[in-house]
């Protein structure tokens, strides 16, 4: 199965990269753009057959390595 993992900055954490992109979009004329927040996107394949087990394992991977709980949140989608 394949997993898509999205890591995003928690609310309130400064995001200078997002701010720079936001300013760029405004200067290109996209005045409708509000706040831009940068994040990370990862794809991985898993050699597991049980969806339940996959969820538990991926949650553990995110908590231990893929996201830093001090500043980041994560969510993921599992595709069989």
């Amino acid at each position: 199965m394949r997993v898509k993992i999205f890591v995003s900055l928690k609310e309130g954490v400064l995001d200078p990269q997002g701010k720079a992109v936001e300013r760029s979009l405004h200067s290109l004329g996209y005045g409708e753009v509000g706040e831009v927040r940068m994040g990370k996107y990862m794809e991985l394949s898993l050699n597991l057959s049980s969806r339940e087990e996959a969820e538990a394992r991926v949650r553990e991977m995110c908590a231990r390595l893929l996201a830093n709980p001090v500043i980041e949140d994560y969510r993921f989608e599992i595709q069989e």
């Binding site: 400064l14 200078p16 990269q17 390595l65 893929l66 830093n68 001090v70 500043i71």
Partner: protein
Amino acid sequence: MRWGVIVFPGSCDEQDVYDCLKHVLKQDVEFLWHRDNLKNGFDCLVLPGGFSYGDYLRAGAMARFSPVMRGVVEFAARGGLVLGICNGFQILCEAGLLPGVLTRNSSLQFVCRQVYLRLEETDTPFTSAGKKGQLLKLPVKHGEGCYYADPDTLERLRHNRQILFRYVDGRGKNAPGANPNGSIDDIAGVCNEGRNVFGLMPHPEDAAEKILGSEDGLKIFSSIAAACEKREREVRVG
């Protein structure tokens, strides 16, 4: 006393730390490879600057899982002194040995310049040779040195007096231009609650001789050496 300097793949300041300890301060020091288990007999472990594991994912995120780090965590739990400089600070935060996290500089630029630090607390093994309010001139060279902690953690850091250095201007005052990376509360270095683990972004090892523009970094290393000698004396007397 004995110093250990831990080398990760991608470390690049280990030789500067080694030279400062060995040749300037005449200390007993050796390199420790990240893949080896930590040996006994060290008084202070230094995690040097650099780009361990290429800073992939997040700075310090992967180095914390190196085999040597299990020993570092146990060493710290027994009260051993651990100093993390720059990337070493990032690794200690990722490993949970220090609170908070270091993120991308608010300017998005890599900064490489001299900064002034104000010594905020002297009751730690890392700062006891200094005076409260004293200024240290040290270089910074990093792209991800913006310290962040959530409001509760920040309050705890202030209450426990764990903020050991702040970025200030040349007169010792907090000023917007003095903070090179956007760190919250101008924080340049923090220690843990036990006051035996300390991390800072500026490089004391690169301010260890007059020819480098400053000798102020020696304050930190000589504080540690004095603290360890005091411990040894106490053990001998006890």
